[in-house]
Amino acid sequence: MKELEYPFDPDYILRKKKAIRRQLLERPDIKYIDKKIAILGGSTTSDIRQILELFLLDYGIRPEFWESEYNKFFEDAVFGNEELDAFAPDLVFVHTTTRNIISFPRAGQSPEEVDALLDAEYLRFEKVWQSLEVRYGCTVIQNNFEMPYFRLLGNSDATDIHGRVNFISRLNGRFHDYARAHGSFFINDINYVSAEYGIKRWADPGDWYRYKYALSVSAIPDFAFNLAHIIKAIYGKNKKAIALDMDNTLWGGIVGDDGPENIHIGHEDAVSELYTEFQQYVKAHKDIGILLTVASKNDEENALAGLNRPDSTLKPDDFIVIKANWENKDRNIVATAQEINIGADSFVFVDDNPMERGLVSGNIPGISVPEVGAPETYIETMDRNGYFEVTGLSEEDLKRGEMYKANIERAKTQGAFDNYEDYLKSLEMQAEIGPFAPVYMERIAELTNKSNQFNLTTKRCSRAEIEAFAADPKYITRYGRLEDKFGDNGVVAVSFGHEEDEDRAKVFIMDLWLMSCRVLKRGMEYAMMDEFVNECRSRGVSKIRGCYYPTAKNKMVREFYKDQGFDKVSEDEEGNSFWELDLSKPYESRNIAIKVN
């Protein structure tokens, strides 16, 4: 919803929040993921909950909330709360601020005394996080601290150990260290957001003393938007690719009219430098696993000539796909999405032309189209929208671009074979399949949250849940990593399930089965099933049960269990189907081209 994208009007959101909520819930055909979010507050959280809900609904996440009593974050986490236990949160958000720091240093205290104060503050919070970890083992998001709105020591507040600015900076450093060491713990960086908003306007002592809001009520939309970015990233709602216009987006001028020698890029003048900074910003997205593509109305020759200028930061090779032609841009983006096998809704489309933006956002549901203004606002507008919020960079993220390129190479060689089986054999595929291993936990959790198409149950899991399944002897977990002569695809298949006793026999229930679309039709799912059948047999399991829950995106696996030799047991009105494989009967491996382990 445009009203909830940056640049938004915070007053409008606050005033119309009930109507906005109604409109969000009235949208047809939204497949929400449901999440239980506990807010443990050190100050009033009512509006934070309500505005956060709007942003999450907009991202396709339907939250159920539980709020602690006023300023009971410590007690609820450390001593426990039955209500919270019963709620069983998927995620806990600890909303504390500089108002919750108990003791600040005073001038005259020794360095040892100040260190002791710092330890005491830090350990109080660490205790909250450790208690939450033990009690719920769930994802935790914690605010860091905003800078104070006054400075007793003036500029020395930053450098002197007795200054609040210094004390808060050191405390934030310790919080950040904890976040780096804990995969399921994230910092909501209100230190940054409050600075961006304006520290003076953020800290509204009136709102604190009247309502016990630790930040100005007017700042809540900015605050909640930033927090929602982390939550949607955790639950796999990040964007994956950027589709870029060229003329007046990547450089100043029109390459087809002006000629490549006359466009503004490089360092010759102010406008060129501005576009160069934008190109650098775009290019840096490759390093965090974002795919770059072009959707430009141009002759391809001219488009390439622009990118091939020696002073152009972005080169043709930086893009996975370049569509420079005279087709409508929405069609070009849909075609690009099909070529690289991701959803068109996982694109961010950047274009200086409002007509093109309108066309694309009108015809591709779910795509993000930032309302960029003048070129000097491009970076800010893209950045504040948090499309690619990073919640941990896996090895996969860093190599993603190369892998998609290798896939396009594979597609080319396929044409040389008459027979698909021969093609598969020519790939010299080698799989590594094993129980969930610590090095892959990040990637496994990421896949459960990002895979939509080849996904039988679309069960979303946090890293903490994945680790718990891996440790539970009732569970069988398997990841699959696939390599071939074109390169390593990384971890592309994830499945797990659990044993249950039934009529004195053991049955195995498949809870999740997914595969990255990167390796469709390579037979990886058959190699994975072999592993499950072997492991189940060795555990004395008599039957494997699987189910298919339809979503808007997973039609390709409707007949998955049939292809794997399962019998259909039943199907209900919503299309949920239930399947069974009898292990007392002979099982025939369907894997023809993959060597395992």
């Binding site: 007053d11 005033r15 009930k18 109507a19 509006d47 009136g206 007017s218």
Partner: protein, 80 residues
């Protein structure tokens, strides 16, 4: 701005904040007359009023408003 104009604008704010197109506020309207008007929504209401009239209530003012009539008086005082 006349008192009538202040009331017309106030009415819009009330309708937006409580998402109810049927609300008509008068001098005597109090929190008891509007279903969702609790202490938390009161905060939203004040912020929305401040924004739409481009004024800022002092802390003292916000604690002493008994009904919409008094609210309108305070707004008129700010508008000068």
């Amino acid at each position: 701005m006349t008192r009538e104009e202040v009331f017309a604008k106030l009415n819009e704010v009330f309708r937006d904040v409580f998402d109810d197109e049927d609300i008509v506020v008068t001098d005597e309207t109090t929190a008891a007359d509007i279903e969702d008007w609790d202490s938390l929504e009161h905060i939203n209401l004040l912020v929305a009023i401040e924004r739409s009239f481009d004024i800022k209530f002092t802390m003292g003012e916000t604690t002493g408003m008994k009904n919409v009539g008094e609210m309108a008086d305070k707004i008129m005082a700010h508008l000068g």
